[in-house]
Amino acid sequence: MATPAIEFAGVTKVYQRRLGGVQVAALSGISFAVARGEVCAFLGPNGAGKTTSMNILMGFIYASSGTSRVFGYEPGDVRAKQRIGFLPENFAFYRYLNAEKLLRFHLRLSGRAVADPEALIAGLLAKVKLDGYKGLKIGKYSRGMVQRLGIAQALLGDPELLVLDEPTSGLDPAGRKEVRDLILALKAEGKTIFLSSHILSEVEQICDRVIIIDRGYMVRAGTMQEMLAEGTRVEIVVDQLTEDLEHAVKERGASVEREGNRVRISLDAAQKRAVVEMLWAGGSDVLSLTPVKTSLEETFLKVVAEGGAR
């Protein structure tokens, strides 16, 4: 079995304020693995510990306990970093350089031998739609342009693993779509992608797997199908509903909404057969039965709320 691209086992990070002040646990025993070729979303509300985890993964900070591996190597090991493209949250740059010079600088640092570096850089700038601005100093770029440049530098070393911390942050809807398409193209090339984002509708479209953390704890992990199937509901529309029947379906966890001469019943998919039979037997005419899938956003909010309640 191939070594996973990313492995976290019981990773804990505690920040200690200086001079013996309070301790803040940013991560508490996080464990997960990301297989090669997988597109995995790392989700959580602000302050959940996503960026801390990514910083540990990149070797920028050290975990207080637990182990983490990237392609089987310690985070920060150059053998691992040779295979990673990283986009930090709020990508910072040398403002006095232009895009071409910045990418040339990063290419030299990547140690990648390229026959025609100029062509590679021009191709990457075209890919992120910055080819028209390659001579402009980065200090004059808009937030969205900087983000695109950050994505270009992440792709520079032809990495096997892309770690993207909020890749669509600061982009307009068209820019977001372009980044989404780019990620899908990279996915088709077989790249492993580990990304964090707050735009869950996008995550739903591009990711195979989801890991949700909250307040430093991992609260849910699963495939996208599992996430969306969780709590899958159906909606039944009937012509009429007696009070006895309404009482009976509500006992099965359904919600009832009356709209003119129709009644909408929303309930868990597991209950649909029993409820439909009950409705038929009770004299209601079932006009339609529609499966209603939970969105990732709903699942996320539910999971985080459950975590908060705990």
Binding site: M58, R108, G157
Partner: protein, 264 residues
């Protein structure tokens, strides 16, 4: 290759740094300001006061050289502190360190970038010294390598000390400590210091002996010639300086290896 890339980028960033431009402008202003009395003395020189005026001029030159030399130590310390702290504060270090680059390579690149800047400074300093001496009617009848190498090694020490401190402390605090250290070096380094020997000697052994690396050991500007020193003396003094800088740099690498690269 990677170290060289970081070094050139660091040097390039210094040339665009606003504080550095301010430093450079201040340096030029001070030199120009000091030249005014120098040229005044020269203009007032006549047959009857030639010797007295020559003395004034050479004292003036010695003062400028001493000032510029001391200024260089502060510049080296500030450049080293800022080159690392600036990257961490702005967050540019994250994209750089995401590359297959070891932490010591990054630090070595930063340090070399600072030394490149200080090489430019030392060459400029020598240029100013020669210009002022020429204006004062004196010429250096000696090899000038000591005037290039000695200050550079001295600045390498201050840069390494500053780099070590900035891996642990805020750059402003680092500059404060460097100034205190420089004062202590003067205080403890002098044989005529009022500090008792039992305290002076141990502290003196820990502090950098920058006096040993001062070009003033060799050059008496008021005579504008080099005192003869055997090559073994040069070798010992320079090896001491390089060793001191290396120890500080290695300690900086050790501390930097374990520290967080983020602003948390």
């Amino acid at each position: 290759m990677k170290i060289r890339t970081i070094a050139f980028a660091t040097f390039g960033s210094f040339l665009r740094n606003k504080v550095m431009i301010l430093f450079g402008s201040l340096f030029a202003c001070i030199v120009l300001l000091m030249m005014t009395p120098l040229l005044g003395y020269k203009a007032m020189t006549n047959a009857s006061n030639a010797q007295q005026m020559q003395g004034f001029i050479l004292n003036e030159v010695a003062m400028v050289v001493s000032l510029v030399s001391g200024f260089g130590s502060l510049l080296a310390a500030w450049a080293a502190a800022d080159s690392l702290a600036g990257e961490m504060k702005s967050g540019t270090i994250l994209a750089v360190m995401a590359r297959p680059l070891r932490r010591w390579e990054f630090l070595a690149g930063k340090y070399l970038g600072v030394l490149m800047l200080m090489t430019v400074y030392v060459v400029a300093m020598l240029g100013v010294t020669l210009l002022l001496a020429w204006l004062g009617g004196q010429g250096f009848h000696t090899s000038l390598w000591t005037l290039l190498v000695y200050p550079l090694v001295r600045y390498a020490i201050w840069a390494a000390i500053s780099m070590l401190l900035v891996t642990m402390l805020h750059p402003i605090l680092v500059m404060g400590i460097v100034v205190v250290l420089a004062t202590l070096v003067q205080l403890f380094g002098s044989a005529s210091s009022p500090i008792p020997a039992w305290l002076r000697l141990p502290v003196h052994n820990v502090l950098p002996l920058t006096g040993l690396l001062s070009e003033e050991r060799f050059l008496v500007i008021t005579r504008a010639s080099l005192r003869p020193f055997p090559w073994t003396s040069h070798l010992t003094a320079l090896t001491y300086g390089v060793d001191y800088a290396l120890v500080c740099f290695l300690l900086a690498v050790l501390v930097f290896q374990r520290r967080s690269l983020t602003r948390d």
